[in-house]
């Protein structure tokens, strides 16, 4: 059993994940305290989503350890009761709001199903809590009877966040959670996430390829490339003062006024 740092909600040490001969994640270590927000940035194939999925318990690390509030995540064959207990430590919001909700289930039912599993609330008290969660994420309580197909992408992502919050998790993994949304909706969701963090002290592990959204959500940044952490620090340190060439290349590739994209040299394999 690895040693637990008191107060840490997430301690991932020396994570490595291989798929056959391919190493997706190599020696990644992350730590998060309650209420903190860490962004993991990198280009496609840098291993950030695999890292997130390992922390969420959806993938097993080949080597390395993960502790969530001092407990190891359940394995793939874990019993339902064990997974249910683990659910209160970490939840995940997925990139695609169109497939992260059951298309035949009403939004309200998807939340009350979770409340039935994780709380003692019954009847009207459960409905009241469901309404409260919908309002917390900026959805109209009347939308509880809507199916996902009648909601916009932003509304679906809000519903997915409400469902995750129903468990009152201590860590929320947001895997490219605003990438599929248009810019104005992205801003709304980022503001919503800031408000929720302030209200609930939930910690965020924010996975993104878009450095433009990071200052709005994260206190710290980890930069990944080819499965390894190549740079890390506070958001200000990394975005304003990093000297790492890959971080600089990522920052320079963010579109802005007068921006002229440059082709990056091919990555040596």
């Amino acid at each position: 059993m690895p040693e637990h740092t008191p107060g840490a909600i997430l301690e991932a040490t020396g994570l490595r994940k291989t798929f056959g001969d391919f190493t997706a994640v190599d020696d990644v270590s992350l730590t998060l305290t309650p209420g903190a927000s860490l962004a993991v940035v990198g280009e496609s194939g840098s291993g950030k989503t695999t890292t997130a999925r390992m922390i969420a318990g959806l993938e097993q690390p080949t080597t390395g350890t993960i502790l969530l509030a001092g407990r190891q995540p359940p394995g793939p064959r874990a019993r339902t009761t064990e997974r249910r207990r683990f659910a209160q430590h970490v939840q995940m919001v997925f990139q695609d709001p169109y497939t992260s909700l059951d298309r035949h289930q009403r939004i309200g039912d998807s939340i009350t199903e979770v409340l039935a599993l994780h709380t003692d609330l019954r009847g009207s008290a459960r409905t009241a809590r469901m309404t409260e969660l919908l309002e917390q994420v900026g959805l109209n309580p009347q939308q509880a009877i809507s199916r996902p197909r009648s909601l916009s992408g932003g509304q679906r992502q809000r519903a997915a966040i409400a469902r995750a919050l129903a468990v009152q998790p201590r860590l929320l993994v947001l895997d490219e959670a605003v990438a599929a949304l248009d810019v104005s909706v992205q801003a709304q969701i980022l503001t919503l996430l800031q408000d929720i963090r302030r209200q609930t002290q939930v910690a965020y592990l924010f996975i993104t390829h878009d450095l433009g959204v990071v200052p709005h959500i994260a206190d710290e940044i980890v930069v990944m490339r080819q499965g390894r952490v190549v740079d890390r620090g506070t958001t200000t340190e990394v975005l304003d003062r990093s000297q790492h060439p890959y971080t600089r290349a990522l920052i320079d590739s963010v579109p802005r006024r007068g921006w002229k994209p440059r082709r990056r040299p091919a990555t040596p394999t």
Binding site: A56, G57, L58, T80, R83, R84, R85, F86, A87, V90, Q91, M92, F94, Q95, D96, T99, S100, L101, D102, R103, H104, Q105, E113, V114, L117, H118, A160, R163, A164, V167
Partner: protein, 291 residues
Amino acid sequence: MSTYQIAALGRGSTRLGRLRGLIRGRCVLIVAGSVVAVTVLTAVFAPLIAPYDPNAVDPTAVYQPSSSAHWLGTDDAGRDILSRLLYGARSSLLAPALVTLTAGLVGTALAVSAAWLGGWYDRLVSALLDIVFGFPGLILAVVVAAMFGAGLTVAVVTLSVAYLPFIGRVVRSAALRERQLPYVSALRMLGVSGRRICLRHLTPNLLPLVLVQIATSYGYALLDVAAFSFIGLGVQPPTAEWGLMVANGSTGILAGRPEQSLYAGVVIVVFVIACNLLGGSLSQRLLGDNR
């Protein structure tokens, strides 16, 4: 006519316009669905609409041609062919319905559980479905009938097993795709049990596909049940059944009286075509399948 009225006509707000809008693009569905619905209603209300007892033998009226007394004539025992066709719809439709519903229910249960559990169980189910798939249903039915005797029950049970792969294999591959979707990962992370995910989430989402597979298989099952009766291993005489009527009428063909085989054959062909068209149309509507 005001601009508003013209615009309203364009939107099809008149009764005729609404009807046209409803029919447009749904012709096949409506025609095939009507044929199936009328046939099912015929089977249900056969005792009310059949002019004669289907098994009433009349030695004085053997091989009567079409007349006002017997619209489709009589068979070699003087039985009214129309009444036998109407009553025959009951066993002819019920048996394939039992076959496809049983295969649909068991096939879906096997497919979803195999896709969910994976591992050795998935390999075992896949191998069993492949073995059954490689075995012609009728041959299987003949072997089972030789062991347990002929009859509709044997035909239904054997054909249900033979039709398992047609539904099971398709549903399994769809279930494998479905379980990779993020909502399933989200449900697992939320601590929802595997059984609940399969029953309350995966299966309802696969239901349109199962319904399409059942509708498409139904016509083929009807043909197989009819063929089974044709070779004397399914429904036993004197029960009225379309496949059996085709077989019984074969002696009449040589005597220049092909009506019984002909009418029963036409009814089978029309109904099977309607089932297949209905299945294809449902596939387009429910699954967006434009093949």
